[in-house]
Structure formats: structure tokens, C-alpha cells
Symmetry: C2
Subunit: 756 residues, 2 copies
């Protein structure tokens, strides 16, 4: 039987629910030292001195390190874009002569105890001459300025019957995973080899970066698999601490531990999203899109971090979305300001671009007098137009929209919303005199980034199956998904499959869990490896049972002779027959019932969806409530529908946060205004509706053997768009809402503009 | 250049000499519990009760476990001999209803602290009814009775011109490695997976045994590579603690540690050697051997442990040694007595058999009036007679003496002894009235047991090379030897090679370090794997440099174009080109510059040697001193002569211990008389001569690509024989010395028998 598509209970839950998860902070080693990072209290300044003597004298302090003690190292860009050189803007591990944002690491205190380290860190005396602070994006330094697009946009705008133009801001916010970062690094004093717990997302890449920065061979570093309390793009990138803690362990020849607190987290990990768009669309007289153009200022904070300019690039490359846009001109300027540097946050570039594009379409629909769903239906690419190649590339891959029926899904989503009574409820609310609105947003996602993932599948002599994959277990359920894929291909019970993700010794060719790639690319690698093991098992069983391979079949954990129910060998027995010294193993055959396979892919796959949001605005307070929310998402094939639904609901929660609540604001001096959860407002259960989910599997991905399209981000992608549209609808604005998040304060400012 | 044969400094020494070795007792985990084993204080008895209540109430005691708490498990035989069933004699993990030797584990106390555990263990109340105790070997129970041999021995004895017969006892002693045993077992409470530090010698085998006993898949258990302070056969076999400590870790879901103390060690680890021989040889009138027969009682202590009856089997199979013995009849009875169970100790069966055979030849030489060297020369197999097949098998392999010139080596050894003035010194001592003697013993060793060893060789992107081998690092220098073999095959500097031995996750097909197999079988596997990496590197370099493979050559860490010194790529660059996503890597090629290879071998190889010992006996005290000692050893090829010499010198030290000092004696009640180093006498530097070593490489082993024969045991094999011969010579005994060790007390008893 197949286990793909089954609602198999999460394998992770057995340990997580019993408190047996192994998170980075659960790791300890006898004799470990504790690190506390001393961070800049000012946003921009020249360092005159960093005085460490007082801190060094505190009892229990082992070492205080400043940039002067370190080799000169900057953190490299992970996702390079050809032709864009960011070397001048890379972040140093510790600030040398200049600090550029509040929270920038300046020194490190190492002590026998975390409390001593924290207390002593406050005794490190920073003497910094303040420099002028840039907080406004448009006043920043241009780190990169590039364009993506195709077609004759200028002519299209000349020929247009209608031109709709607007400005739109997406606010600075980011992921705040439940578990802040943590690292435990153990060192073998004899060899200098490092055992690292706490690197998630891209452990092999981080291992390689660290090896290069330390000047050692990558095989001297072993990053262990751990649990992680969420990733969402920010957790697991290579940050200054990812160099500092291992470097200190080697320097001091002792285990070193560091745990980030929440206040640090909010200024230290990548921020995201902050962009100012000036977008315009040209339509013919029937409302058919002729062209779009967008001029974006992207606020990247103080440095280019590991993501380089990939968020800006994705913003432009994905901006046309699922629509037939004959000509597109995008320009983006990456601006450096004195704020925390930025990177990806779940649905990077798409959350921003979708919000802007869909708001523009809403404004255009009103302006052209066309129903907004009808306008979209008119301009969505038709199923027969796919695959559709856009003359752009992102993440090093050409944009080729692979398969789907965008109009069909829009219709299904609207029908589902009607079936669930969304429009009826809207009417009812309005009848009650409430300021209610419905938002509809269509979006295109991308997932399954290559170039590869590698997986090992092996069977033990008890018949237990192990999978060593390159993904990481961030809470998303990837162990369950890969176990189902293995069980399906190998024909075993998922219960006997154990999946280990992100251990660099077990899987040195892993590419990590990001970009919604784990199921698509990682899953396909596991699928290939499991099929190879199956094939090998049949070959060996044929020798053991002395029958032709063609007469053999799998029987959930066994290989049996067709038509002879009593004649079979278990996979465990086959594994025994594969051991060295076995009479069934030929001299030059590799031992073990195991296979390593690599799945390589050139193009991404493009899932797509529709969000429908019903909002209820309190005109007095400006508070926006979201009583109903629907996500329709086409993902090709759901390995485990329960996990897909969970991903989508979680994404909506984050999307509502970004659309209504979450924002990293700064004052004029560059002081962050949101350094606790009292200021950085997360949606709670009270702010969230029961999310309706419609997962469709109508358009399997042609580019991978499972047909999967990745489901990790679509709950978030159009949340800003749908809520902006709903608020605009509620307030009956003629123009755009102009800015996310739609905090109560901003909504109060908008209520005067509406006609309702 | 080749690095084979070079005196490369030991790679292990950098960490060991700086105190950075990682021995089992160096491992700790926060929250670990400590185990203390409660051992039987009496040699034989029926257990009426094991009362644990008092011990359990001690503050800090977490659990007290008796056999009743455990699954019923007995430790299986590792080296099975077909047709011999020892199931009734296997040792249980904890004694159930009967104790059979002093030191047998009866209960286990687990506590938060090792001192609490030890104190509480004394509060476990054992109520045991004493049963009759068997201490004398001949009174024991026969666990196995078998014969090995060939030819018509009876007729040969009928036809003989001379028959020489004698009885001979080899005393019970064993290895006492500097580091007693220790285990740290960490458990992942989520999965039950075990991380084990402390299993040496055969980690993969022990992992598999443990998995079977625990009823889990072997891949759930990871045995880590550690340093070990000596092995010598006893350390690293599967003992009761190897089940108890992991079982407790899983049961209590906490890390558990156990460290053996010396008093425990002396009663707990395998004893060895104790045999009573009744041996006879038949000669023709010219002193040509016609046949030998030997009837052996082998004292195996209370149980059959992991070695089963392999020591008895080896005793018989190797007894004819390097001699032309036309007919041989061996019988051995394996006797169970109420003493510590036995296993292998370096040169198992050969130390015993060589001592007995060579003493017989010395007695025969005198009786036949032939010089003892001449008698040996006459009866040694001639070089032209090799390979020589004996119609016997041992360790599952047929006995085929592969290559050599036994007579030639005897002549070389005697010439070397003369050159070094042995005979002159003998004459000088005698001229001074001292009771001096010279012993000469010729011996055959065996090494390189199959069926296989597996090795991984991989190159990192810095050009560093890693080897994952199945051996274990017991102090013998195997890391250095395998690094040299790798460096030679791959053409890199041994300094860039790191060897990891005995990690079951890194090398799941390792067979371990024992039976002098690591260099022969493990080294050959490494050699094959390194050659495969070299071949792959040339293939990849050919793509990178766009030249034919035939035009490429290795250049110590690089691949270069012949005749173009400037045109080359480093192995690190080649490794980069082998990463997934590299343009040089073809779609279906495995990534990584790495290879796993298995070396399989059906037959052992047979090194051989000569020991010459000069002794000086104090007739008053019986004290035997050894002023001069020569080992001549043919080992085919020395990878590192310094290490070979070190092995031989260390072996002589242990051999002198077994020949003169070390003995586990028991009183009539089965109480061990040697439970500290005050009673179990080890040779110290004062007792040891400077050992002269003559390593020859005249007869490379035909059965492996390196030609190596294994050099781990030959310093010990004939030490009992040579010293027995020398003492006999010194005392001018007409008959044999009858018994080893030749303690001062026994020598005093012999002085009256001599004629000198």
C-alpha cells in the first residue's frame, strides 16, 4: 500500500510531546564555558576603544574578546547573484572601527557561568563617537541597484487605455521562532575537531563556511542533528555567533555554549520585508494587462548578510505572479540603513510583492469598473498557456511556471468561500452596521530549489529503516514526510522508518531545509534512494530464495515469491545477507542494504493559491479583526494532508501578524522600539480565526517523481494582500491602504479616506 | 615517494603526550549516573536471595538491579567453532540461581555518584549456599572435547627410533592493560538511541551483540572511537557490563557511566593460558620428526565467554609450528572450573603451544645427543616446501603456511646473537660461576584473519584526507600505520591524513583490531580504498584540466600534467569539483572524492621468528634475570619499523611476565590470590633487558597487496619457550622445566634436579 497522502501521525510528536526533544539548549558538556555577546548600544558610531579590563577581572570570567583578538573575517553571502559584488558591505564577526546598528556584536565575554558572563558583559566599556544615523530607507546608501524584466514596457504604457499607479510600503518585521538561537560547541583538544549542536537550516553549508573561516578542513567539523523550535528563514543562517562560539571553543580548548535571549534575538537575527514600492500597471480598454512596472526601495539594514540581495531579486522575479503580464520592468535599489541587517523570512519577496500587486489590482478593478475577481480571472494565465517561461531568472534558475490552472483554482476558492458562507457573513456584518470587508488575493509561490539534495536509505538487520537526509527538522514534520516517502517506495511500515536530518557526518551532501525544498528535492532524493534499496533487496532476495527477480514482489517489510505466500524473506534478513562475509554478497559488491542517491533539479516548481479574508474593522479604535480566512492552495500532491494544513494555518498566523501587528520600528536615533514582546506584537490565539483550508492536487509538478510542489509558505504569501484588500474593501477606499502593517493607529488614519 | 617502511613519528603521540587523549573515563555527560557491580565473594554456590532494600535506601541510589529485573540474556560466543555447542556454558549477565566464580556479577547499584554506588554496593546482602568448589583443572567439567590432527600418528610412534614425552603446565595469567575497562552510555530519551564510549577491539560486533540482546536495531547504537590504554585481547570483548550499562541507560533514560577498578579487573576480565599438556614426539634414528601428539587439558574457568573454544583450537592447530611434522594428533578437553572465565591473551594458544613444543625439542635434543639448534634446523620446513598445507583448520580457515625461509631466519638469528655477543656473555657469566643459560626457540605465528575489513578514504576540500577504518586504536599505532598506507597509495603527506578507527557510525563494516589483523586486513582495505580515490582523482583532474588521464601523474597532494610542472590541480580542488552541483560531476556519479573498499581474505598469513634468551639464575633465591633477549621476526614488510620494534619489545615484556612472574593462583576455596599488583607481579623496567630486535622482510605475504604479515604478537609468542629453554640450560636439567611461570619458588625447586 502507499503511505503517500495518508494522515500519518507525526513521528516527531512522540518525543516532542513527552518533553524528549533535543533542542540546542538541552545540550550541555561538563566544563562548558558560557558566552555573552556585548552589543552596540548606538546605531552608528566610530569605536574609540573597547575596554575589557574590568570585565576580565570578574571572578569566573575566562576571556574577553574584541575584534582585535580575532582573525579578520567577514561572513560571506550564501546566495550569490552573478554580477553583484557585496564584499564592501559584509558583516564582520565583531565590529572593528565602526558600529552600524544597535545590537551589533562588539565584544564577547566568556565565563564559567552564564550569569557571570552576562554581568561581566555590562562591565565592558565601549567608547564610541556617534555618527549621523540613517533610519529612513530613501536616505540610505545604495548597496545594489538592479533591474529585472522583459518586453517593451514603455510602449505598453504609451498604448494603454488605463494606467493605475500607486505607492505602497511593507513594514519591517521578521520571524520570531519560539526557540531563540543557541549553540553548544565541543572540541577535541587532540585534533581540534568540533562537535556542534545548534546549527539548523543549512548545516552543511554553515559547516563549510565555518571551516573556511577557521582555516580547517570541513571534515573536522561535525554538526549534529537537533530539534529546532521553528526556523522560518531566520534561524540557522550563519551569524557572527556561528563563528565566535566555535572559534572560542578551539581557542580555549573547552566546550563553549551560547544561548540567545529574546531581547538579543529581536535585534540580532535577520529582519525582513521592509520595502517601498512605486508600482504601475497598464491595461487595455477591456481591462487586459499590457504591462507592469515597479520601482522598489529595499531597506536591508546595516549590512549584506548571508542572503545578499536574494529577497530583492525574488521580489521582482515573482512580482508578475500568476498573471499574463506581457511586459514587466522591475527596478530595485538595496538601501543600507542603521538598522538590523535583513534576510529572508518565510515567503520572502512574495509576501511583499503579492501585497503590492494585489492591492494594485484591487485599485485598478475599481478604477476600471470591473469586478476584482473578474479582473483577475481575465488576466490570470490560462492552463493551456503553461508551462510559461518568463524572461527572468532568480536564485540562479530561469522562471518557468510549470503546471496548473490558476483560473480554475480561483473559481474553486470563491465557490468554497461561498459554500462556507463568507459573503453571507459579510452581508450580515454590514447589515449589522459593521465596517466589514472581504479581500481576495491570488498568488504564485515557488519551491523546490535545486541544485540537489542527497539522501541515504539503509535497512538494519532488524528490518528497521534509517534515512539520512540533508533537510533539518524545524518543526515542520519533515521526518514524518520523508518516512512516508520511504515507506511508500520501499514498501515498509512508516513506523519502522527513522529519519535523521541535518547531521553533517551522516549526510555530508545535504543542502538543508529552506525555500520549501525539503519535500520536493529532499523527498525526491529519499524516493530515489528508497527505490534503489528496494531494487537491491529484490536482487539479494532472488539469490537467497533462488528465484528470478521477476517472480518477486514486496510485501510490506518482506520480499516474497509471487503466488507463494509462504516463501519470503524479511528485509532484515536481506540486510543480514548483505553484510560482509555473507555468502550472498559478491566480492566486489558494496556491503549493506543501503543506497545513497542524489536528486538534481534545474528548475523550481510553482505552487499557487488564493486567499480570501473577511475583516471586521472597528472604526473607533482602528482594530481589525479577522473572523474568517480561507486558503486555497494547489500543491501538486500532499504527502501528508494534516501537515500541509498545519503549515498553511501557521503561515496565516504569521501573515496576519505581518499584515496587522508586527513591526520593528526605530526612533530617529536608530534605537529599536520593539525589543520585547510588549512592543513587538505577535498574534495570539485570540487574534486568529479558524482557518479554512482547501488543498488541491490538480496539477502535479512535472519536475519531480512525487509530483509535489512544496507547501511551506503559501499560508503566508498572500496574507498581507488579502487583509489589505479586505480592509480596503471594508473602508471602501478609492486608493490603496498604502502601508502594512495595518495597525489600529494606521487604520484610524485611513477611515477618513473611505466613502463607506 | 613511498611512506611505507619509513619511521614516521606516531600520529597518536601528539595528543597522547599532551594529555589530550580521549579515553573512556575522560567522557562525562551532565546528569550521568554511576554503576557499581556487586560481585560474588564465593566461588561456587546457590543463591538463596539478593536483598537490595538497604542499598536502595541509601541517599543518592537510583536503582539496584538483580537478575530478576533483567531480561534473560546470556553473552554469545563471538568465535564459533562448527559442531561445538557451548550454549549450556554461556555466562549470564547477572548470576541467576548459581554463582560460579569469585567476581561473578550478581547485582548492580546505580547512583548519582560513584562513591555512593560503591558504598551502597556493599550493603547488597547476598545469601548464598556454598557448593563444592573445583579449582584443579583435571577435576573440572568437560565443556568440549575435540581433536585436530592428520597422518598416522600411531604407526609413526611404533616406527620411531626415539620417543620423547613430557608433561608441561602453563600458568593462568592474562593481560592487564594500563587502563581498566570503562563505559559511558548516553541515551536519547526520544528514540532510545545509544551513544557508547568505551567499547574497543570489536566495536561493530559488540554493537550487534548488544542490539540483539536489547532487541533493537543495530543502527540505534553508535559506538564512538576512543583511545584505549591497551587491549591485548582482553579489553573490548563483550562482558556483562557491556550489556548492563547500556540497558540501564535505556531503562533510566539517563547517561550511565561505569569504570572498573583494578581489583575488579583482575577477577572480571578474561584470564588465559592455563593448560596442562602431555606431549610426545617420535623421531627416526637421525632425529627427524615422524610425528607429534599432544593431549591438553585447557582450564577455561567458570563459563564459555566470547572466545568459546578458540584458544584450545589455536593451541592444537598451531602446535606443529614451523616444523615438518608428518603426523600430528592433538586432543584438547576444555575444562570448566570455579575460576574467572578465560579468553584470548596476545598470542593465544601460540604462547602455550610454543613453550611446550620447544621445551620438548630441547629435551629431545639432549636425549638424542643432537645440538638443539641443529635438531631444529633438521626439522624446520624448508623454504622450497612452502606453501605448506596442514590438514587442519582454525578460526574457520585452513592452515596454509604461506611463505618464508624458517631455516634461514634461524641461522640469521643465531648469527645476530653471536654478533651481539650472546654466547660470549654466556661463557663469561659461567666463567664467573653464575648459573647462566641460553634459550633458543623457533615459532610460527599467524595473523591477518579475515573474512574482511572495510575502509573509507575521503579527501576534504582543503586536501585533508580522512580514513574511517574498522580497527581500533589500542596504543599499537594503527592510526600511523594506516596513514602511511594511505599516503603511499594516494601520494599525499602522511601529515594530512587523519585516521578514525572503530566508530560504528563512520565505519559500520569494521571487523576490529585483534588477531594481528589490523595492518594486514585493515591496511589492505585502506590501500584499496586509497588507490580507488587516487584513480577517481585522476579521472576528475582529467576533466578539470582537459587532458587525458594517461597524461596525468600524482605529485604529493596534487594531480599534474606530465612534463608540465605548472599545470596541476590540488586534491582539495579535485574534492571541490566532486561536490554536488559541480560542473565536473556527472548526474549519476556519486559525489565526494571518496571511496569505500572491502578487502576479503580466506587464509591467514604466517609470520615466524626466533627468540634467543640469556638468563642468569640465582640458585639461592631462585630469581631469574634476563640480561639479553633477541627477537628475530619475519613480517613480510614493515610499514613502520619503529612501531614493529615497539610491538616486539612490548611483547617480550609481557612474555617475560608470563614466563617468570605473572600468575592468577587460587586457594582451595576458589579464592583468587592475586587481586592487586602486590600479588599479581608484573615485570617492571628493572626486570626487563634491552631487547634486541632483528626484523626481516625476506618473505612478503602473497595474500595481500602490501605483503605484510602482521607484527603484533611475535614478541610474546616464544618468550615462555625461550626463557624455559634458557632456565633449563642454565640448570642443565635432563628433563623439562615442567611449568610456567618460573617463579623464584619453582626455580628453587628445580635447582636440585640439574646436573650443573
Amino acid at each position: 500500500m502507499t503511505f503517500i497522502g495518508e494522515r500519518v501521525p507525526r513521528k516527531e510528536d512522540s518525543r516532542l510531546l513527552r518533553g524528549h526533544g533535543r533542542f540546542a539548549d538541552d545540550q550541555d558538556r561538563p566544563g562548558q564555558l558560557w558566552v555573552r555577546v556585548v552589543r552596540s548600544p548606538i546605531a552608528h558610531g566610530r569605536i574609540r576603544s573597547v575596554a575589557t579590563a574590568t570585565a576580565s577581572e570578574v571572578d569566573g570570567v575566562v576571556r574577553v574578546v574584541t575584534a582585535a583578538d580575532l582573525p579578520d573575517r567577514r561572513i560571506p553571502v550564501r546566495l550569490k547573484v552573478q554580477g553583484i559584488n557585496l564584499d564592501d558591505h559584509l558583516q564582520p564577526v565583531l565590529a572593528t572601527d565602526t558600529v552600524r546598528y544597535v545590537g551589533e556584536p562588539v565584544a564577547v565575554v566568556v565565563a564559567e557561568d552564564p550569569y557571570v558572563a552576562e554581568d561581566a558583559a555590562e562591565l565592558v566599556e565601549l567608547d564610541i563617537d556617534e555618527l549621523p544615523v540613517v533610519v529612513e530607507t530613501f536616505q540610505g546608501t545604495v548597496a545594489a541597484d538592479f533591474r529585472l524584466g522583459y518586453g517593451d514596457v514603455e510602449q505598453a504604457f504609451v498604448d494603454a487605455a488605463h494606467i493605475v499607479e500607486m505607492e505602497f510600503d511593507v513594514g519591517r518585521h521578521s520571524a520570531v521562532p519560539m526557540e531563540p538561537r543557541a549553540l553548544l560547541v565541543d572540541v577535541d583538544p587532540g585534533s581540534g575537531a568540533l562537535q556542534i549542536h545548534g546549527m539548523t537550516k543549512v548545516p552543511v553549508f554553515n559547516r563549510d563556511v565555518l571551516a573556511t573561516m577557521l582555516g580547517v578542513d570541513e571534515n573536522l567539523i561535525h554538526v549534529h542533528a537537533i530539534d529546532a523550535g521553528g526556523g522560518f528563514g531566520v534561524r540557522g543562517e550563519f551569524y557572527p555567533e556561528d563563528f565566535l562560539v566555535p572559534w572560542l571553543a578551539r581557542e580555549l580548548n573547552r566546550p563553549v555554549k551560547w544561548v540567545e535571549d529574546r531581547a538579543e534575538h529581536l535585534v540580532a537575527v535577520n529582519h525582513s520585508r521592509q520595502q517601498h514600492h512605486t508600482i504601475a500597471a497598464a491595461f487595455d480598454k477591456n481591462g487586459v494587462l499590457l504591462a507592469m512596472r515597479d520601482d522598489v526601495l529595499h531597506d536591508n539594514g546595516a549590512y549584506a548578510r548571508t542572503h545578499g540581495i536574494i529577497v530583492p531579486e525574488l521580489t521582482l522575479a515573482m512580482l508578475p505572479g500568476p498573471y499574463r503580464v506581457p511586459a514587466f520592468a522591475g527596478r530595485i535599489r538595496v538601501m543600507l540603513t542603521n538598522k538590523t541587517p535583513c534576510g529572508t523570512y518565510r515567503a520572502p519577496g512574495r509576501f511583499e510583492g503579492t501585497a503590492v500587486r494585489e492591492q494594485l489590482l484591487d485599485v485598478a478593478a475599481d478604477k476600471l469598473g470591473i469586478d476584482r475577481v473578474e479582473l483577475r480571472r481575465k488576466n490570470l494565465l490560462d492552463a493551456r498557456e503553461l508551462p510559461h517561461t518568463r524572461e527572468m531568472s532568480t536564485l540562479g534558475t530561469d522562471v518557468v511556471l510549470d503546471s496548473g490552472d490558476y483560473v480554475g483554482l480561483l473559481d474553486k476558492a470563491m465557490a468554497e468561500a461561498d459554500r462556507l458562507g463568507y459573503r453571507a457573513e459579510l452581508a450580515s456584518l454590514r447589515a449589522q452596521g459593521r465596517t466589514a470587508g472581504l479581500g481576495v488575493a491570488v498568488f504564485l509561490e515557488k519551491s523546490g530549489l535545486g541544485p540537489q539534495e542527497t539522501a541515504d536509505v539503509m535497512v538494519g538487520t532488524s528490518g528497521a529503516v534509517r534515512v539520512h537526509s540533508g533537510g533539518t527538522s524545524l518543526g515542520q514534520g519533515i521526518e514524518t514526510v520523508l518516512a512516508q516517502i520511504t515507506a511508500d517506495a520501499l514498501d515498509v511500515d512508516p513506523a519502522v522508518v527513522t529519519v535523521v536530518n541535518g547531521d553533517t557526518a551522516l549526510q555530508p551532501f545535504g543542502a538543508g531545509s529552506w525555500a520549501s525544498r525539503s519535500t520536493v528535492v529532499g523527498g525526491s532524493a529519499v524516493h530515489k534512494a528508497a527505490l534503489a534499496v528496494r531494487e537491491r533487496a529484490i536482487q539479494m532476495a532472488s539469490r537467497m530464495l533462488e528465484v528470478s527477480e521477476d517472480d518477486l514482489e514486496t510485501r510490506c517489510g518482506s520480499i516474497g515469491v509471487r503466488g507463494a505466500p509462504g516463501s519470503s524473506v524479511t528485509l532484515g534478513e536481506v540486510a543480514k545477507a548483505c553484510r560482509p562475509g555473507s555468502p550472498h554478497l559478491l566480492p566486489d559488491e558494496p556491503a549493506g542494504l543501503a543506497a545513497r542517491r542524489r536528486f538534481e533539479v534545474e528548475h523550481m516548481t510553482y505552487p499557487y493559491g488564493v486567499h480570501v479574508a473577511l475583516v471586521d474593522v472597528d472604526r473607533g479604535t482602528g482594530l481589525v479583526q479577522v473572523p474568517r480566512y480561507l486558503v486555497a492552495y494547489e500543491i501538486g500532491r500532499a504527502i501528508n494532508p494534516t501537515l500541509v494544513e498545519g503549515q498553511l494555518v501557521g503561515g496565516v498566523a504569521q501573515g496576519i501578524g505581518g499584515a496587522l501587528l508586527e513591526e520593528f520600528r526605530y526612533d530617529e536615533a536608530g534605537q529599536p522600539q520593539a525589543v520585547t514582546f510588549m512592543d513587538y506584537l505577535l498574534p495570539t490565539a485570540a487574534e486568529l480565526p479558524k482557518v479554512d483550508v482547501l488543498v488541491t492536487e490538480d496539477a502535479p509538478a512535472p519536475g519531480n517523481p512525487l509530483g509535489v510542489k512544496g507547501a511551506g509558505e503559501g499560508g503566508l504569501t498572500a496574507a498581507g494582500a488579502a487583509i489589505a484588500g479586505a480592509v480596503r474593501d471594508a473602508l471602501d477606499l478609492p486608493g490603496p491602504v498604502r502601508r502594512l502593517p495595518l495597525t489600529a493607529e494606521r487604520v484610524r488614519g485611513l477611515t477618513d479616506e473611505g466613502t463607506r
